[in-house]
């Protein structure tokens, strides 16, 4: 794991990640997720669905950033990820985070695979002013493996941190849960790496109906009652 990837995966990286709970806030608000025992099944299923999707597109984006490519690749990846995200609220959350991440990455001088992350990032932003988070992450991570690992890890660490803040779960215990998922995170990242060079249309499309429904209701509820996270 490169130091650059560690920087991007750090919860202190100012990429806007701390305001996203990955569906956990809605589940907690409805009383569906209350205690420590509820957290591991949520994180595991999230990793294998939304986490895999994010890792696959981060890896594909990193691959595209490091390859000679036509101008249309960012448009194509964006449209393919949209088609794999049927929930409008989930697409919104991904793009909010993507824009925030792009802002944070844009001011860093990142030695990426093509020697200039800045020019690749500009190409992404020119094609999609509010890019998906996974795609910006792929551009910034500097390697296919790093991108996949960071995306898979963030799919778990984000909601885990939200559980500490929202439910007051023991942070040491929650950290232990995440540590216990290391092999699963590696497996998801490994699968994503294997897909990285494939045609975007062929990339995996794991669905997560429950997360989609939680995301939609979260967005609706935010208009009437208090929600502290963007997603």
């Amino acid at each position: 794991m490169s130091v650059l990837a560690m920087l991007l995966a750090d919860s202190r990286f100012p990429g806007g990640g701390h305001v996203h709970s990955g569906g956990l806030e809605e589940a907690a608000a409805r009383g569906l997720l209350r205690a420590e025992a509820d957290l591991p099944p949520f994180l595991t299923a999230r990793l294998r669905t939304a986490g895999l999707l994010a890792a696959v597109f981060a890896a594909a984006s990193a691959h595209a950033a490091g390859s000679p490519r036509g101008d249309g690749v960012w448009d194509v990846l964006d449209a393919e990820l949209d088609a794999r995200t049927p929930s409008a609220a989930a697409r919104y959350a991904s793009r909010v985070q993507g824009k925030a991440f792009a802002r944070a990455v844009g001011v860093m001088v990142v030695p990426s695979v093509d020697g200039d992350c800045g020019s690749t990032l500009r190409a992404v932003l020119a094609a999609t002013p509010r890019p998906h988070h996974a795609i910006v992450l792929g551009v910034a991570a500097g390697s296919v493996a790093g991108a996949a690992r960071v995306a898979a890890y963030l799919a778990v660490s984000g909601p885990a941190s939200a559980a500490v803040r929202l439910l007051g779960l023991d942070p040491l215990w929650v950290n232990g849960v995440v540590a216990g998922m290391v092999d699963e995170v590696e497996a998801v990242a490994g699968e994503a790496v294997r897909w990285a060079g494939c045609a975007p249309a062929e990339l995996p499309a794991p669905s997560s109906p429950g997360l989609d429904l939680l995301a939609e209701e979260h967005e609706r509820h935010h208009r009437e009652e208090v929600r502290l996270f963007v997603s």
């Binding site: 569906g23 099944p41 393919e80 949209d82 088609a83 049927p86 109906p209 429950g210 209701e217």
Partner: protein
Amino acid sequence: MRARADLAVEVDRHGNTVVGTLRCQAPLTLVPARANGSALVHLVASAAGPLGGDDLALTVRVGSGARLRLVGVAATVLLSGASRSAVTFEIGAGAVVEYLPGPTVVTERAEHEASLVATLARDARLRTREVLVLGRAGEPPGRLDTRTSVTRDGRPVLRQRLLVGDPALDRSLPGLAGRRVLATESDFSPDEAEAASGQWWSRSPLAAGGSVVTVLADDAATATRRLAEVAEKTSGDESL
């Protein structure tokens, strides 16, 4: 058993949609019924299953401007053993298609792979419904691996793969939240839909136009009633 069915409909010189090609093999049986200028075809399973070894493929071509309703008359019960089914639509300019198969029940020892691939011309429309039931009453589900891929004018509209039968996903909140039935009704059209949602249902616009209604419920009757309610709701009315 390996079975292939082909259906092609087109508009004749009077402007009516007529069935041009209709080939089928048991257990995939297509029964045409002419209705008011559009085509109505019933999809009848003439044998139990699918069961182990079955490989079923249905290809539907809808010519420009044609109108087709393809309606399943009964539930599909996925029985024991590895089987697969593939449904393919090619829908021409201005054509309107409704594909309404019956519910699919994933029984305990099923291992089924299903795919729905639809290629739409720019202004074509496809409305389709899928009701997945995890096991018969009191029965855990077998395995189902279902893929949906819809493109319009070469651009992706919806690509989803759902795995049923892994308890870690079926029971989890991100997966099927422990519900026995997942029902979706997709409107693949260029229209913009308004988002709406409730506890375990939502209607969400797709990025490329059209919308998907998703319902999780404990039984098929509740799920299909909720689908109908959401479909009938006028936009803005969210009282369910």
